[in-house]
């Protein structure tokens, strides 16, 4: 089966229905392994036990960015190929990406208070991530404002593509500006600066969070397809002769 055949909503529902239980099981397994490793991970020599917040903060940040990249890819599908399943993928990813970005902001704030002495500073990294969260809310609001899904998809796709400029700004903000937020320590050219005893649980948790994101996204896409079917039926019913 080619990719374009798979991009048919009915085929997608059938294939995702088969994949979702396996993906959910893999997510649960990855989280069990990650939590087991976090339990035995040593304290950091500077941060102490607060390093454990990093095991959720860093993957949440990555998934917040991943969500927007996914939406940007879907936006291209909407704008270039006008494929309705791309609309569905973009719309379904927005609330999930927003939730992970919120998780990143809150857990980062809770880490910042004991480590930096403050919950929040207006430095480039924190501010650009806050902007990402607000852009997610903007996309969600746009989808809810425009009633016609096709028109809403195009407007949301344009906002998504324009908003993608913020992704490299977030990534390189710690290099371009003098920030309180520490520079990259995992995804960097010279390799990770983190000890394997902490890096391994972090990577396992990142895999678990990614599987969770994909599971939730697949389930949300299935819901969105059903929502469009309900809408089609409502319109058919509205157009039906009186008394039918």
């Amino acid at each position: 089966m080619s990719l374009i055949e798979f991009a048919n909503p009915s085929r997608f529902l059938a294939a995702s229905g088969r994949a979702l239980p396996w993906l959910s099981a893999a997510t649960a397994l990855a989280f069990a392994l990650g939590i087991f490793q976090i339990y035995f991970a040593p304290d950091d020599y500077q941060q102490g036990a607060t390093v454990k917040i990093m095991f959720i903060h860093v993957p949440a940040a990555w998934l917040g960015l991943f969500g927007w990249l996914l939406m940007s890819a879907a936006a291209l599908g909407t704008l270039v190929w006008r494929h309705p399943l791309a609309d569905v993928a973009g719309k379904a990813a927005a609330p999930i990406g927003a939730a992970f970005t919120l998780m990143c902001l809150v857990t980062g704030s809770l880490w910042g208070r004991p480590m930096w002495g403050t919950y929040w500073v207006w430095d480039a990294r924190l501010t650009s991530v806050l902007v990402l969260f607000l852009m997610y809310l903007g996309v969600i609001a746009l989808w809810r404002t425009i009633e016609d899904p096709t028109q809403a998809a195009r407007a949301a796709a344009v906002l998504t593509v324009v908003g993608a400029i913020n992704i490299p700004i977030i990534k390189f903000s710690v290099d371009w500006w003098n920030t309180l937020h520490q520079p990259a320590s995992v995804l960097r050219l010279g390799g990770s600066t983190i000890h394997p005893a902490i890096l391994v649980p972090l990577i396992v948790m990142a895999i678990a969070f990614t599987l969770l994101f994909l599971s939730l996204h697949l389930a949300a896409m299935r819901n969105e397809i059903m929502r469009r079917r309900v809408r089609s039926m409502m319109m058919l019913r509205a157009g039906a002769p009186a008394g039918s």
């Binding site: 607060t50 880490w111 969770l212 059903m226 039906a240």
Partner: protein, 59 residues
């Protein structure tokens, strides 16, 4: 496991993460049940999608 002097911050961070994930899962599951119920109601009234009929429809 000893969480040190900042245990409250660590526990709160994990509680927030669990609450956000639980909220997402609950939203998706409840939405799915609501939509499935609506589709069943339409089908029970004999309203079917065009794709189930001869002229076809993308959804």
């Amino acid at each position: 496991m000893h969480l040190g002097p900042h245990a409250a911050f660590i526990v709160t961070a994990y509680a927030v993460a669990i609450a956000i994930v639980a909220g997402l899962v609950a939203w998706i599951v409840l939405d799915q049940r609501h939509l499935a119920r609506m589709l069943e109601q339409f089908e029970a009234r004999g309203i079917t999608r065009r794709s189930d009929r001869a002229d076809g429809e993308k959804w």
